[in-house]
Amino acid sequence: MDRDERMHVNENEVILDTNELRLIEGHGRLTVRLSGSRIEAEFRNLEGPRFLTSYLRGKPAEMAPLVASRICGLCYTAHSINAAEAVEEALGITPDEGVVELRRLLYLANNLRSHMMHLLFLSLPPIKGLISVLRLREKDLVAAGTRLLSTSTQLIEYWGGRSVHVPNVVVGGFGALVRGRELMESIKKLESLRGDAKLFVEHVLEMELPELERFRTMLSLKAENYPTYAREAPLAVNDGSTITDEEYVSELEEVVREYSTSKHAYFRGSEATVGALPRIMLNRRKLKPEAREYAERIEWRINPFLMVKAQAVELMHYLEEIIETGERLSETTIVPNGFPSPGIGKKAQVNPCFSDRDGKGIAIAEAPRGTLCHVCEIEGGLIKDYRVYTPTAVNSKSIEVDSVEMVKKFRPLGSEKLKYVLEDLVRCYDPCLSCAVSLDFLSDR
């Protein structure tokens, strides 16, 4: 490889190196070293920082959703919505219930799309020992997955204004007039895909996965329903306690790693895991009926490989909840600023973005990969500080600790085989390094 990368080998022995991790979002690498008698893992983010959060400083508050969207090409809807909410909270704007509901719908569609992309394209093929989704022998499975993927994308495109980076999500609500009836129609197609979802979920639930159980702190939003997007909701910790969003932010610590372009986010000075598995383990009873039935089939333990199965169960849940939310919204019309009011059914008005207020806002929601937190400070209508704590930044430490455990446990496999299982492990966390790098190593706090 490259000269400067070889230089460090002598310091302590590298026992495993994945080179560039394959089939993950962004560029990363996992290196395991033997330093004395201790095994240490380095989860290295090699994705370049794009300094989007620094860019927002001094910019008008209404630009936040537009710029935050560019953080990630898979969960852009989550970033846009969180950004809109953080700004609204800072400016003291309370969006109408209809706006919150439609945002939840977009969030659900986004999570469904992202899970589908992760399971079908990134996670399943390598676990089955294949190099690509195109080599999967179960053609019906691929067809079912592709249908779900494109239908959820169409839903986002229709209501978000574009399939990737949605311009319709703005501070205060939505930019375009939203009619509940049309919304119902657009969801109908998804309803016919229940069979596809079932086929997919059942396939994933029957897969054999490695055992790697280890206790650690887990976090998930705790809302009235199964957590995705809610305006005001505390976070549940797996010690039985709940904390507010402000407490969560104050418990986060940004740690610079000399080998990674992104900082790690420690919770209470140590590791925490977020994502589909903590969500299921902390909120299983709130799953929709069919998803819950699937969830009962699995013995949920803190094994990161189970993230894959948790995501599969969530697929079913998201599908069910999208259909329900759509029905609830069928009578609602969301009217943007300056639009003549159509005057039918329930109305939700979109609030204007005030340009001269000050304040601080925190928006937390359950993005596909876990708890996503945007913090925004506004002064005189301009953004003073903007921070994004992504699930991957929080999970980075857990990925490292699990990798060490994995090496200890499976060392007899030999490093060639172990390398592949380690990559599978990292992939199960569904890391997004483009997201993680929004907490770049040069950002000051």
Partner: protein, 248 residues
């Protein structure tokens, strides 16, 4: 024919757009090309090695030392390079964002971070397909042209043109900063159609006229400073061309 799909520093939204919007047709690409490298779709043949190909599609800006090495290897091994998306063609938001950050502590253990640049700052790029994200239809059209030995072309109209066709209300007329008249079209006026102003995410239109634009916004009572700040957001390196023409 051989093709490859690479990703440098980006959100990978361009490749995901192609993957999701091509849907079941994605597999058809393999019937046309031999594809050894497609980030997010297959494990690369030969690990980190850059394969020799006829057409390379590259998304993302050049930010890290790794990106720099990779883009020069891609150039050495590819007959035709298509820059995929605004990061690759203009540098996107990262271009100006990275210039307002103090990069003196840029060195990590084995990686260095530089000011973001579009591909064309380092290598010759044969064709640029702009957009944040890139449009799957434009990609398909460019691909068909390339396969038939015809040079692909960029849209020669502005976002305003498409916006007018859609019958949208003009945002400049209600006093909002909208870059439609300056922006390269082809997006189907996605943002303005949902009431959001255009930020020219595809870079400047071929015949963008900054002076005329500034005169127009003045007439609508829009502050020039606000518009200039918006222009600098996505246009990245291409802003310099625009400013040179406008002598600003």
């Amino acid at each position: 024919m051989k093709a490859a799909f690479y990703s440098l520093t980006s959100c990978e939204g361009c490749l995901t757009t192609l993957i999701t919007n091509l849907g079941p047709n994605l597999e058809a690409l393999w019937r046309i090309f031999d594809i050894d490298y497609f980030k997010l779709v297959r494990e690369p043949v030969g690990g980190d090695k850059v394969p020799r190909v006829d057409i390379a599609f590259v998304e993302g800006a050049v930010v890290t030392s790794l990106d720099r090495r990779r883009i020069s290897r891609i150039r050495e091994n590819s007959s035709f390079i298509v820059a995929l998306g605004t990061c690759a063609s203009c540098g996107n938001i990262a271009y100006s964002a990275s210039r307002s950050v103090d990069l003196t502590r840029r060195r990590l253990k084995d990686l260095e971070v530089f000011e973001a640049e579009p591909l064309s700052s380092y290598v010759n790029v044969d064709f640029e397909l702009s957009g944040c994200p890139v449009s799957a239809e434009e990609f398909t059209e460019a691909l068909l042209r390339l396969l038939n030995g015809i040079e692909p072309k960029q849209p020669d109209f502005s976002v305003c043109y498409e916006c007018k066709l859609k019958g949208n209300r003009c945002l400049l007329e209600v006093g909002r900063v909208c870059l439609g008249p300056l922006a390269m079209g082809g997006c189907g006026a996605a943002c303005t159609s949902v009431g959001a102003p255009c930020y020219s995410c595809r870079g400047p239109a071929i015949e963008a006229d900054l002076d005329a634009y500034l005169k127009t916004i003045k007439r609508h009572g829009i502050e020039e400073g606000k518009a200039m700040s918006a222009i600098r957001a996505f246009t990245g390196k291409k802003i310099t061309e625009l400013l040179k023409d406008g002598q600003r």
